[in-house]
Point group: C2
């Protein structure tokens, strides 16, 4: 009902990172894309097949050293329902390989509709006498603009199925401050949203001190990361923005507590495109991703040591 399973995977691997699976076609080696197009044509179906093949290779290369993956829904939805099927298959494969899966959908809506999203990503859906996991992720990112009644249906499903959520608090993008930094009664919106995470999380306590309601806080805002770590002691952080968006290991140091817990750092392009940066043989992309993931682990664990 909390994020304990994620925390345990982080402890087991000694690695507080998550690999973002945002597979643009440009990131995928040509030999994979060509093979998929030869099977299904230069179509959405062909592209989706390439995404899935690429992801499976990455998961194989990472599953024993990286605790979690974070597929970003947008990069699958852009290939239509074929892409969404590849998202489903990616989640399934990562779980089979023992990885924790954070579906990055930033979903949000009114309560009755959030019940449907909760069923879709974290719970189950009934069809006649059957009951199925539609996507079967372990956690989902959500947006709290609608307030508590858009979040509580997720909390109920998290309790029932031992899942978690991450609420957007202070996002990594340059314009996040337009709303999130503005002051309400002297406190910035991101802090108010963070306090709501603490409040919602009371319903989902965890054994390592962190609840099932985490927060998304960008690596691009080191000062706010530290401030929020201090003020939100029960809220685990999902931290995007390391690497390609500019955040360094020094920047994310403040996200962690004294035990070296409290956050999981995402890298998407850095890991997926390691083969391009290295200039290695495209066939070696999964091992390049592994090398980059190990470098990232060292980079991060050195500062939280």
């Amino acid at each position: 009902m909390s994020l304990d399973r994620l925390i345990e995977s982080i402890k087991r691997t000694g690695n507080p990172t998550v690999a973002g699976l945002d597979p643009k076609l440009d990131f995928i080696p040509d030999f994979i894309v060509k093979e998929s197009f030869s099977k299904y044509g230069e179509t959405l179906e062909g592209a989706a097949d390439a995404l899935l093949t690429f992801n499976k290779g990455l998961i194989d290369g990472l599953c024993d050293i990286v605790p979690a993956v974070k597929p970003q829904a947008a990069y699958y939805e852009m290939y239509g329902w074929y892409g969404v099927r590849a998202l489903y298959e990616t989640i399934k494969y990562a779980k089979e390989k023992g990885m924790y899966v954070i579906a990055d959908g930033k979903r949000n809506d009114i309560g009755s509709t959030m019940e449907a999203y909760a069923a879709a990503f974290l719970g189950t859906t009934k069809a006649g006498s059957g009951e199925f996991e539609a996507f079967g992720a372990d956690a989902l990112t959500v947006n709290g603009y609608l307030g508590s009644d858009g979040i509580m249906p997720l909390v109920d499903v998290c309790r029932k199925f031992d899942k978690g959520i991450f609420v957007l608090v202070k996002t990594s993008n340059p314009s996040s401050g337009e709303l999130q930094d503005r002051l309400i009664d002297g406190e910035p919106v991101y802090l108010m949203m963070g306090r709501m995470c603490e409040e919602w999380g009371r319903n989902l306590p965890g054994k390592y001190g962190y609840s099932g309601v985490g927060a998304v806080v960008g690596a691009t805002w080191p000062q706010q990361l530290k401030e929020l770590r201090d003020k939100l002691p029960h809220t685990f952080f999902l931290v995007p923005g390391y690497g390609a968006q500019g955040g360094s290991a020094g920047d994310i140091k403040g996200a962690f507590d004294k035990e070296g817990l409290g956050a999981v750092i995402n890298s998407s392009r850095g890991i997926m495109c390691a083969w391009k940066k290295e200039g290695c043989a495209p066939e070696d992309y999964a091992m390049a991703a592994r090398r980059e993931a190990l470098r990232m682990k060292q980079d991060i664990t050195a500062v939280i040591g």
Copy 2:
């Protein structure tokens, strides 16, 4: 590049309403569900087939009197990729029947990821030498918590493909005020978000005075609807919350301008479940939906004169 096509459909039908397609299995007549289960089993595939059959019947019953449909992504995603395929087929069918389609996904993310969502729902996706509409909707609902750089990629795609967006401003749910009503420099968050819609909309001017950046404002907040109509003269409103959520025709009067334009009112359960409320034969569900849509049209056009 604006919402002109929606406005023209509203003018043509004389009906400023949109039918929400949020097809829970419970809303669908048994004879449809049984037929689908007999083909595909009591599975997500079977349920998704029932959704699509139900939607097609509704679209057939409504397409000459209601200008637009608004499928809510969550109710499709809960049936996994089969459900998402039914969403795609629903959008396609509604467009073939001449309806304007608002995909209700409330998507949001950083700029590079919003490019992917924009391609998915409003633009096109390339796969080799092919270029495809992944979902091909006419408009998309979005959440502006991340600020301008999460919105601008959509604006670019709207300009290129003559599409529109609706940004969450003041949502219909009871707890929307937790953040949206709080004051920043003396003005509520919803008004600040509304002013950002006016600003973003400058890039997508329309010939009826309304831009391509609309706002979602709930029928459950009549006072704010009126206030926002006065203060956001170029922002068209998508108004949920009429009917099942409690909003009446009197409540939504303030959403319209002096010409009777400026808003489109959504009804989901009221239209989809009209056959249940009427107690008519389940086989007559599409005509019951049509009767309810005509009643709703009369109810609303009476107050906007």
